[in-house]
Symmetry: C2
Subunit: 547 residues, 2 copies
């Protein structure tokens, strides 16, 4: 293997093991080509209304595509090769015969080369992400670019470590008293089969790459089934992966893109196919539970969750409210890590200036959001656009007839006058009004829940994480005993806690190499990026013995 490839994997694994900060691709667009934005935009624009070039088309049956830009509010007009599930499986099985016999060194080299090529298209991918997901430019760049690549490298590094954990050949000798029994043994990591990766509409590369790279690195072949409304970013990535495969003399169909439409979905047929042994899924809970229930499959899911904020006491009200406002507003609350339910005692919270009432907290949060939304330098960039009409409708529905501390507003966008935007609605609600707050409201919808006291807040947050799932929990407290209680109670329901985040620390951000994303222990998903089992469950150790 190229020594620098091996060094990069070792560096990345050392970071994972230490959990300290590490990034292989800078997150600032300024670290890349000076004309990156301009040429990325041109590259993106040149794709519009065209058949997408660069994906293998062998066996395809025409062209399909139905993406709509949440900024333009018109179709992108990009079409992708359409394949029947059977063709995808046949291509995959042919490719697998070759891919599963490649060395892990060759796999690592090809997959890292692909990531490097993807990095040359980060700006183009950023625009592709904006105009499919509705993310702002900066988030589109970071999440679909360097952060997604970092998550993929993290997986490759963990996989390299796990695949080389045991020797490939040994001489085993056991003394039997009067003689030695000697056996030659070998140990092989046998891939499970065809891996299906089902993408989501909001994070088409970030949520797809970990499972895809994990399955490929361990010798399985991959079929990516993107959300039909968010294809372009992952199409660019898969095209670069296929290019790297072909450059190495291997079949492009080691990784395939299986695009479908809302009217003719193919995910179920693929998932249920006997050849498909591995499934990575990001999306809604109902389909996720169906995927988890399929017999004979190894499944990794990230489903919905309801994330909580617990406010017990604070030091700097402005800093706290602005931090919550940012996390709730970022990409209009469409992150899986975004808070939904804010628990505040009816008796108020402690501050350095004495007690702050529940109502003051509610209006503090509402005002901070309003200031952010109306800030012309921040608003549209931070909030981006709403990915789909269902989310838009959900905001309107939840607002009807409820006590709104802040109503959802359009987000002024100078660049895209037609953008589908909506700022967070803030709803003050009693703890016992569980039909209102105690289920997932995906999108920019915040409840400030009036609880009996801080202990009640914790028990509601914990119970909700256990029953509905949670990916994050943000807690503000200056009371060490309470903090310990929150940490141990939420950890017991497999929910990580972030304490007293202000400034540039946001609960929505999970850093590659350091933060596990989704624990896998509660209903928000059954797996985590990236622990060892995220890799090890994709292959099987088999040992042979010879006299």
């Amino acid at each position: 293997m190229n020594p620098t490839i091996k060094e990069r994997l070792q560096l990345a694994y050392a970071a994972q093991e230490s959990r300290l900060f590490y990034s292989a691709w800078p997150e600032s667009p300024r670290a890349y080509a000076e004309d990156g934005m301009q040429s990325g935009l041109l590259a993106f624009q040149s794709l519009l209304t065209q058949n997408f070039v660069g994906l293998q088309t062998h066996g395809s049956e025409g062209w399909i595509g139905e993406e709509i830009s949440p900024y333009f509010m018109t179709g992108l007009g990009i079409k992708y090769p359409a394949f029947s599930p059977n063709t995808l499986i046949q291509n995959a099985e042919l490719a697998q015969k070759i891919w599963s016999s490649t060395s892990i060194d060759l796999r690592a080299t090809i997959l890292i080369n692909a990531l490097d090529s993807v990095a040359n298209r980060f700006f183009e991918i950023a625009y592709a992400t904006m105009h499919t997901t509705g993310q702002g430019f900066m988030m589109g760049f970071q999440a679909s670019g360097p952060h997604a690549n970092d998550r993929a490298l993290e997986v490759l590094a963990m996989a390299y470590k796990e695949l080389t954990r045991f020797p490939s050949d040994i001489n085993w000798v056991k003394n039997m008293g009067k003689f030695d029994l000697a056996l030659q043994k070998n140990y092989k990591a046998i891939p499970k089969g065809v891996a299906l990766v089902i993408g989501c509409s909001t994070f088409p590369t970030w949520n797809t790459l970990p499972g895809l790279f994990g399955s490929l690195m361990t010798g399985n072949v991959g079929i990516v089934k993107p959300h039909p409304k968010s294809v372009l970013p992952i199409a660019i990535v898969v095209a670069e992966m296929q290019k790297a495969l072909v450059a190495a003399g291997l079949p492009a169909s080691v990784v395939q893109l299986g695009v479908d439409t809302l009217a003719n979905p193919i995910a179920k047929e693929l998932a249920e196919h006997n050849a498909v042994k591995l499934i990575d899924y990001t999306g809604g809970s109902a389909f996720g539970e169906y995927i988890e229930s399929l017999p004979g499959k190894t499944v990794f899911t990230e489903k919905a969750g309801v994330n909580s904020v617990i406010i017990e006491s604070i030091s700097d009200a402005a800093a706290v409210f602005s931090n919550i406002a940012f996390s709730a507003s970022l990409y209009s609350g469409q992150l899986c890590t975004a808070p939904q339910n804010i628990f505040v005692p009816a008796t108020g919270i402690q501050t350095p200036d004495g007690n702050m009432s529940y109502d003051t907290v509610v209006s503090g949060i509402a005002n901070a959001i309003q200031n952010l939304v109306e800030n012309p330098k921040m608003g549209s960039g931070v909030l981006g656009a709403i990915q789909n009409d269902a989310t838009d409708k959900r905001i309107k529905d939840v607002s009807l007839g409820r006590r709104l501390a802040l109503q959802s507003m359009p987000v002024p966008n100078l660049e895209f006058a037609d953008a589908r935007t909506a700022s967070p609605v803030v709803i003050a609600v009693e703890a016992d009004d569980v039909t209102t707050w105690r289920h997932e409201h995906f999108g920019p919808i915040l409840f400030v829940i009036k609880t009996l006291d801080a202990s009640h807040s914790l028990s509601l947050a914990s119970e909700s994480a256990q029953s509905l799932g949670a990916i994050t929990c943000l807690c503000y407290s200056n009371d060490v005993a309470y903090m310990n209680q929150v940490e141990s109670t939420m950890n017991k329901v497999f929910t990580p806690v972030s304490f007293n985040f202000t400034g540039a620390a946001f609960v929505t951000q999970h850093a590659a190499f350091s933060d596990f994303h989704v624990t896998g222990g509660n209903p928000s998903g059954n797996a985590t990026f990236t622990d060892a089992q995220f890799i090890n469950r994709r292959f099987v150790w088999v040992g042979n013995r010879k006299m």
Copy 2:
């Protein structure tokens, strides 16, 4: 932690990582106390017809026990405390509050101390194993004693490695351009909950300890539900574990023994209980598939398999036939690793003396078995006794109206005149008679299957492993190309291959620290002793962050 405990874990993990020979407890009875056999026998005898002493009885509802010695053919008369499933769960949940907050160092110390105490009772356990499972003394000693302890230590070592893989606390610093963002982070391995371990009748400790020690070491509490006919060996182990817990000031009910009867089984009620999150199961396929289908549980199974022997060419016919005879006769074919189907080409096999016909191979194997069975120094010790009447009946049923190369015979046993014994029946069968050979016949039942050629043998063995499961495959061949083909074809269906075993190498033996037992990739089970995921799936990483 006691430094020697840590050293022992590190030594054991180093062995696992290198896969070289290692054993923490010698397998020869002579390495133990000189009067071990005598005092072990007395200890065993003193347990007969008594209420078993040493298990916690809090909340028990009387005494039950229905074990029958396959050697005496009378009941042992030993009774164990009976608990309702609800009592077991309540005890477990109380204990869990304490156990999950103990340090991994304390857990390791207690569990290794327990293994050391168990080692003091290896002889007693050997007799207990003989008189529940029907194993011969030597196998009862080795399998339930040092080999089971080694497998448990292997699990503890892997768990210690995995639980300390990531730091418990770090300072994470990310440069944000003009300032550094600093967060304190911690990482916790949170146990999943109550672990149920369902044992089997033939290997009551060897198959129970890995899952039990894996769950306990990772902070879960355990309920062992032994097979009602094979309780005593694991009762002794659990009693020693409870003693070690109590000595450390911890609740005995961190591990409980939940005995039941054939008439009133409790496995299902326990398995389906919401508090039970982990299940380790060894036993038949039907119940194993039910266990695997339970939603919301993390499940590790070892079910049935059909193991193959493929004979293509041999160097030393006598050595080969005697090796096969031993593996087929050991514990009367009641090992999960024992061969059932021997594939031999109709055209015969190559030997140094020219072609050997199919019929000669059949009679060679039959004769070797007969010689072993009738050898007064070997027979009864190697074959032991038949654990239950169902196996005995299966031998008789399969023999009816079939072409027997060797019929099953009683095994002369000078010590136990009433022992339930049966030597292997050898049945010559055509490849297309699939209703005869192509399903599991648990016990001393061997088919020598006449195939078209060596390639046909391989495809039948491979297809059988894929559909029915297989834990082992033994191949005899001097043709390197064929051997490679067998290895890659059987490995693709997740079956390990042992080549050309003669002398003291037996396909039935899987060595701790070196051989994975069951791959987890075919229907014979979904897990392996002991890879990293055998540990990692028992707990969840949760990371917390503080500003």
